[in-house]
Symmetry: C2
Subunit: 189 residues, 2 copies
């Protein structure tokens, strides 16, 4: 709180409200009220509502891209890379669950940056697809449809923002271990 600029405070408050009701249902007056000021005063710190959304989403999307690039270029096995992806999502999501809600649900309201976001996302998915394919080739991963594996894994990881805040006593390492086990080894005995 201490060293946060007023702009960062507004973005954080906005992200919380966006998570609850979605970008379109939140008004500048809602954000201002939560900040204890009038809507017009927000414009001393931010340039537009759209810009707030962009700041939230693009920052997170680029974090994911950076993280995955490191994993991709490491010399871990495919299964180890999968586990590292789980850890990456848990790390980023638990540091900003509110922002993750916008990333997942409000990306379509990006205007100028929409195309850029879509590129980041499809590249991200393609990179994971390559890791899975490689794992199947090296017999580390079962020969099921690549898309089914990718979809199932990403669905779970992208929903973490809904679930992590409910666990008040979060141990990222333990969650990474448990979730990796369930995603990779399944749940049957």
């Amino acid at each position: 709180m201490k060293f946060e600029t007023r702009k960062e405070e507004i973005i954080k408050v906005a992200a919380t409200l966006f998570k609850e009701k979605g970008y379109s249902a939140v008004t500048m007056r809602d954000i201002a009220a939560e900040m204890g000021m009038k809507a017009a005063s927000l414009y001393n710190h931010i340039s537009s509502k759209q810009h707030i959304l962009k700041d939230i989403i693009i920052k997170l999307a680029e974090e994911f891209t950076t993280g995955l690039t490191q994993i991709k270029n490491s010399k871990a096995t495919s299964l180890e890379k999968m586990q590292a992806i789980v850890a990456l999502h848990i790390k980023i999501t638990s540091s900003n669950t509110d922002g993750m809600a916008s990333l997942n649900n409000d990306w379509m309201h990006l205007e100028e940056k929409l195309e850029y976001y879509l590129k980041l996302r499809s590249d991200y998915e393609d990179d994971i697809r390559v890791i899975i394919k490689d794992g199947i080739l090296k017999k580390e991963i079962a020969d099921v449809s690549v898309d089914v594996i990718l979809f199932s894994m990403l669905s779970t990881l992208r929903s973490l923002y809904l679930w992590i805040p409910k666990k008040d006593d979060l141990h990222p390492e333990k969650l990474t271990k448990d979730l990796s086990k369930v995603l990779i080894s399944g749940v049957n005995k």
Copy 2:
């Protein structure tokens, strides 16, 4: 198309638009334009925008409740019940992918029916939790955290609406088999 009432047409069109932009960002004028009429004319068939949302969401939520009740009361093993839940989600989702988007993303904009919806949802999750617990007790399911299993499974099933429309050649039985395998047996060799 033939035997659809005008009201059903409007609800279907609205669901498609809600999926693309979310309930709050879709205007009655948007829906009307897509129907080839003026916004005011919609009110000859529906009573309010809110009512359209309610029709979409509550119908689906009740379908899930009915389906799960049947599974719960069957004498299948826990693993068979899990597989039946996967099949239930695939069946309902593929019959109405657009509506599923509203169910997942716009339930918080329900007004009078919000409480009822939340009750259906939490009962639904509780019923699945019981099935998982029972499976762990009977050594059919690995002794991992019940919540991790529930969360991982439901995240994937709730995201099906995003993924099913992309597969133009959908075979529900094959998808059920593949997805059950990945969710239950995992992906490693």
